[in-house]
Amino acid sequence: MNFLLSLEQKMLQDAVERAARDVCPLQELHRHVDHAELTLRKRAWETLAAMEVAGLCVDEAHGGSGSDLVDAALVTEVLGYNAVPSAFLGHTLAVLAIQASQDEGLKQTWLPGLAKGELVGTVALREPDKGWYPDDWSMRPEAGRLSGAKSFVLDAGEADCIIVGMADGQLGLVEGRTGGVQCTPLDGVDRTRALFDVVFAGAQVHPVPAAKDAATRLVDAASVLIAADAFGGGRRAVDMAVEYANQREQFGVKIGQFQALKHQLANMATRMEMSRGLYWYAAYAFDHRPLERGHAASLAKAHVTEQFLQVARDAVEAHGGIGFTWDYHIHVWLKRAMFDWAWNGDPKFHRERYARLSDWQ
């Protein structure tokens, strides 16, 4: 019984933290958010690839480090803390899907490039006006061709391969930026993530044969990673609010001395700190407690993203007027919290799923 990070895991987080601070300081983040330039995304991705983080969940036989989902979640937490715009989330999910496939040829074609970060992957889950989870997927390939639409797909414009959720919980792989794949960028509220509507018009699709629950595993992994991101982001929102309270003066004293604010900060910190184990456990269960995987993923996704959203709102308020301006940076995290809350199913969806999985009737 040891519910702690290993030395290697701590070192991984430290290394990513240093790299993230280096590549994505606040002024770079501002430039990215203001002008939607791709420079920062590109540099961030190169940095992560050089650290061999892109291949974290690729097994060693295919050029990766063969890590558990926990490690990817730990990296996601740090990226969330620093609001790093990068393809890591969608990419890691695509890797997990291909890694779980039974088609060795497919693995050899894609995994080594994805592991190095030379190729970028993503996943297309939700169909317009439908839900995120496999029961709601309806596309069927015909003679190896796929037609239909997916919405809110991360990074589709730059992806080399898109893992597509299809009817009956099947997964397919479509090469990105080829004929028959039309990606339209969305004006997302969170400018640190690139969202697209994707229309497949007779695009060539390779089946990704895998165990029966592979599709559900994939969306559960997405939930775990989003929860990890939310934990990191929420932690940052608390840190920023605390820092501001220790700096800003009114009535001749630091505003942190006022008990009303102190209590608000204590509540924010408690909300976040108590969420840590929830996302750790969901990540741990994903690899080690298969029967609890779905419960834990949904509970963590619902709870942690909701805490992040509330804490981000509180953090804006704690900053006063400056917090409400575009020029100040706290809104970047508020919008990441909005993304985390809604992407891959909102808390309401995940709580009802938890209730069903717990057999409440």
Partner: protein, 401 residues
Amino acid sequence: MDLNYSPAYEEFRKEVRAFLDEHWARPLNQDRKTRTEAEKAFRNKAIQAGYLYRNVPREYGGGGQEPDVLRAQIIREEFREARAPVELHQNGVQLLVPTLLEHGQPWQKEAFIPKTVAGEYFWAQGYSEPGSGSDLASVRTRGEIVGDEWVINGQKIWSTGAQYCQYMFALIRTEPDKPKHEGISYLLIDLRQPGITVRPLKQITGRAEFCEVFFNDARTPSNWIVGQRGEGWKVSRSTLKFERSYIGGAERSTELFARLMELCRSARIDGEPALRNPGVRQRLAEISGALAAQRYSSYRQISMAANSEDAGIVSLMFKVFSTDIGQDIAKLARDLIQESFLLAPPDESNWRHAGFERWNNQFMGSLGLAIAGGTSNIQRNIIAERGLGVGREKKPGGEKA
């Protein structure tokens, strides 16, 4: 990260299970006296086996084991599973014994620890006063040496169970000329004497769990002091430290939640069990999230303790967090019991025959959790000041009591 126990610990778990199988049978249909005796006999065996009062040396009637949080956790889990008696929930056991082990003189340890652990001596806590709540160090109950005795005058309040206790450990102002925190001594007092009046206080639930205690020339021997004169604040802090460093498990919240689930199965909304109502399911799942957060935080804390790491800020958060869970559970129950909300909560004698109005006890009782043992607002101050390093307020008033 590995939530499995190593083979050595699994072996230990087997031992504990075998012990429970052999020595503990859940008493059915027994009267209270038979049950109490059975529990006492079982506790003695469990102490002998080293499962209870592990950190109390054998010579003082404890289990006398090396500290090992994982073994302690396994014992807690298995005893709870078997619904076997655990350590007494008594102030003497939980607060005084560790204090005596750290600060007591040898004769005090011998005189008080064994009988306290055996459940023969019950202790009341004499800390708060009518004028000293959150500002505890301002206590004014006076103690003066007259001959070889302390003579005590003043009043204590919120002393849980004092009406059933023989003794009290108390913070008494013995050095009125010294600064506030340095003028207090930690005294042990026999409550059964003419100078002491214990008056139970009726709570908003209708029950009387705590008392006012009045001292009118009450007496205690001069050597019934733990630590030196004027060191009482420091001595009591070590008690509170023990109280706070106690790993905040999620057991109590988990049991409460199980009762809430029962309510959701029996209460009805539009003719259907409440558990099928989408809104109720949302709120139950929301509470489940908080409960799981508490459970996994405690796993992490246990692991940190096992590795001699300081759990830091998270240990400051447990009380306020679990208080909030208790209140959320009470609010959901309120919404399900409908007009039973209009009824007074039953007292213990007709508890078994009562209906949903039982939950009114939780509805009001959950308020007590936000007050007892340091109010939630004081806890928030502690989290912000010690945990987050947000500026300490200048407290109004001087340093003299």
